[in-house]
Symmetry: C2
Subunit: 314 residues, 2 copies
C-alpha cells in the first residue's frame, strides 16, 4: 500500500463535495506543519452546476473512483460527509485519517482516534477556508472560487437556514480572492444547475440524493432545485415512475423527493414507499396523491432529515 491519502466528498458529488475536497487536499499538501501526501478524487462525475464552476475557473474535475483499495491506498480523508453509505464502497475496511464536515454524525465509526473538524456551518468549504486562514496558506484563485461555489450551492446563495452568521464574511472573502461578484456569480452557477428540461426522470431524482438508515428503514432523500417549479411538477408521472423503479432496484423503504423553488424558497414534497404516515408526522402535513407543499423548506439537512429522523425513530 502507498503512503498516499485519498481525499474525497460524498457520492453524487455536489459543488461543496468537490470544492471542499479539492481545496482540503491542496491545503494538506501545502501547509507548513503536518504536511501530507494526498490526492483528491471523487465518488462520481460533477453535476452541471459544479461543471459550470469548474469550467468558469478552468479546472479539471477529480478522477472518479469507487473503491479505495483498488487504488493501492488504505487511508482516506472525508469531506462534506461522514455516513458510510454515502462514502466509498469499502470505507468500512480502510483507515479514516480525518473528516471535515458540516452534517450530523451517523453510521460512522473508527477503530482508532482521528482528526475531525465538524462545524454546523453552511458548507464544508467554509470550514476548509478557516483552516487555510489558521494555517497561513495562501488560497489559489480557482480554489477560492470552488470553495465559494460550495458555500453558495449548499446555502442557496446564503438564503438557506443552514447559513451560519460566520458564512457571510467567508463568502465575501472568497469572492474577493476569486475575483467574482458574489450575487452575479451565485445566480449564474445556481441557474446552471437547474437545467432540468433535458434530463429524464431517472436522472432528475438522482442529481442530489442521499440514503439514510432511519430505525432500520432505508430512506432515500433527493432534492431537485429549480427556478420554475411548475415545469418540474408537470412531469409528475414521469418522476413517480422513476421513483418507483428506484425503490424496487435499491430496496428503499421510502423515497422522499424535494422539488425546491430556489427563488421563492419553498419545496414540494413527493413521498412514495412504505411509511407515508411517518412522513406526514414529520412535516405536520397531509399528503394528497403522494404530494404536499412544504412552505419555507429549502434545506434537506436542516428542514427535512432531522424531522424524518425524529418521526421514524420516535
Amino acid at each position: 500500500m502507498s503512503d498516499k491519502i485519498l481525499v474525497f466528498g460524498h457520492q453524487n458529488p455536489d459543488s461543496d463535495a468537490i470544492g471542499s475536497s479539492m481545496s482540503y487536499s491542496y491545503l494538506c499538501n501545502h501547509r507548513k506543519f503536518g504536511q501530507l501526501n494526498t490526492e483528491v478524487v471523487a465518488l462520481g462525475e460533477p453535476n452541471e452546476e459544479t461543471q459550470f464552476v469548474l469550467d468558469y475557473f478552468g479546472v479539471k474535475a477529480p478522477r472518479v473512483i469507487k473503491r479505495v483499495q483498488d487504488e493501492g491506498v488504505d487511508t482516506v480523508i472525508l469531506t462534506d460527509h461522514n455516513e458510510f453509505q454515502q462514502s466509498a464502497e469499502d470505507i468500512a475496511e480502510v483507515t479514516i485519517y480525518g473528516v471535515v464536515d458540516h452534517h450530523r454524525i451517523a453510521n460512522f465509526q473508527t477503530a482508532s482516534p482521528l482528526f475531525m473538524d465538524v462545524q454546523p456551518v453552511g458548507s464544508a468549504s467554509s470550514i476548509v477556508y478557516r483552516q487555510f486562514v489558521r494555517d497561513g496558506v495562501e488560497i489559489p484563485r480557482e480554489l477560492a472560487g470552488l470553495m465559494l461555489a460550495g458555500l453558495i450551492s449548499d446555502t442557496l446563495l446564503l438564503k438557506s437556514p443552514t447559513t451560519h452568521p460566520t458564512d457571510l464574511p467567508v463568502a465575501d472573502a472568497l469572492a474577493k480572492i476569486a475575483g467574482v461578484d458574489l450575487q452575479e456569480f451565485g445566480l449564474a452557477m445556481l441557474k446552471a444547475g437547474t437545467n432540468l428540461a433535458s434530463k429524464d426522470g431517472d436522472t432528475l431524482i438522482d442529481i442530489d440524493a442521499k440514503t439514510f438508515e432511519l430505525n432500520g428503514s432505508k430512506v432515500r432523500v433527493a432534492q431537485v432545485n429549480t427556478v420554475d417549479i411548475d415545469e418540474v411538477l408537470a412531469r409528475r408521472d414521469e418522476l413517480e415512475t422513476a421513483i418507483t423503479n428506484a425503490i424496487k432496484a435499491n430496496g428503499y423503504s421510502d423515497f422522499v423527493l424535494m422539488v425546491t423553488d430556489i427563488l421563492e424558497s419553498n419545496s414540494e414534497i413527493i413521498e412514495l414507499g412504505e411509511h407515508p404516515e411517518l412522513v406526514e408526522k414529520a412535516f405536520h402535513f397531509e399528503l394528497k396523491d403522494h404530494h404536499a407543499f412544504l412552505a419555507g423548506a429549502v434545506s434537506r439537512k436542516k428542514q427535512v432529515v432531522p424531522q424524518l429522523t425524529e418521526a421514524f425513530e420516535g
Copy 2:
C-alpha cells in the same frame, strides 16, 4: 428547559475527563465570539489522582449528575468521550451541541449538525488548551494545572505511545502557567493515583473502566496503574472474584483488566469471559490461567482497544 448547556466528561471520570470539561466550560463562558451559558458537571466522583490535583490547586470537583434532563437541561457538550455507553444515561434523548475528544468514534450519532473538535493527540485537555490559544482567552492558573494533569494522566507523563509530538510544548506551556515542575508534579500526581492497598477488588477493577460494544459483545476494559505490579498480582484471587461478579451483574461478555507498571511501561492482562481466544488473537499471546504479559503496553486506547476491536470484528 433552561438555555444552559451542561459540559461533562465520561463516566468513571479521570483527570482528563475532569480537567478538559472544567476548562472547556470556562472557555465557552469567557470567549469573545460564540459565548455560551455552560455549567460543568461530572458523571461520577473524582478518583484519588484527580482529587490530589483538585486539592493541589484548591478547586472543588464538579457536582455529579446521572441524567441530563433531571437537571432541567436538554443540551450538552461532551469532552474526552463520545461513545454513548460511556456518557449520561439519557444521552440519546438530548441535543449534543459539541464534542471535544481524542478517542475513536463509535456508538455515536446525532440528529443535527454539531461542533466536533477531535484530534488524535494525548489528551482532550491538549485540544482545549489549543482552543484557549486560538480564542485568545487567558488561562487561569488552576485550569492550566487541571489540563496539565489531564495530559500527564492520559500519557503517563508523556511516555505513552498516545503522546503526540505537539503534546510536549503544550505540557511545557501549561506547567509554566500552573507554576509547577512538570516531572515533579507529574510523578506526585501519578503516585497519588496508585494507592491501591487500601482498595478492595471491586473498587480496583472500576477505577478506570470503560465498556465497548464489539460486534455485539459487551466488553469491559479496565486499567489499574501501579508502581509495584507484584503487589497487585498477589491479589489475583480477589481481583478475579470481583471481575466474575462484575460480569454477572452487568452482563459483560468479557472483562479485560490491564495491570500497568507505570515505571517500566508494561502491562499484565487478565481476561475472564466468553472469548479468551479472541483476546489471544488480539495480542498474539497465550493466556495461562486467564493471565498474560503484554510487554510495552501502557495505552488502552492505542495498544488494547483497536486490537480487541479488530479481533472481535474480524
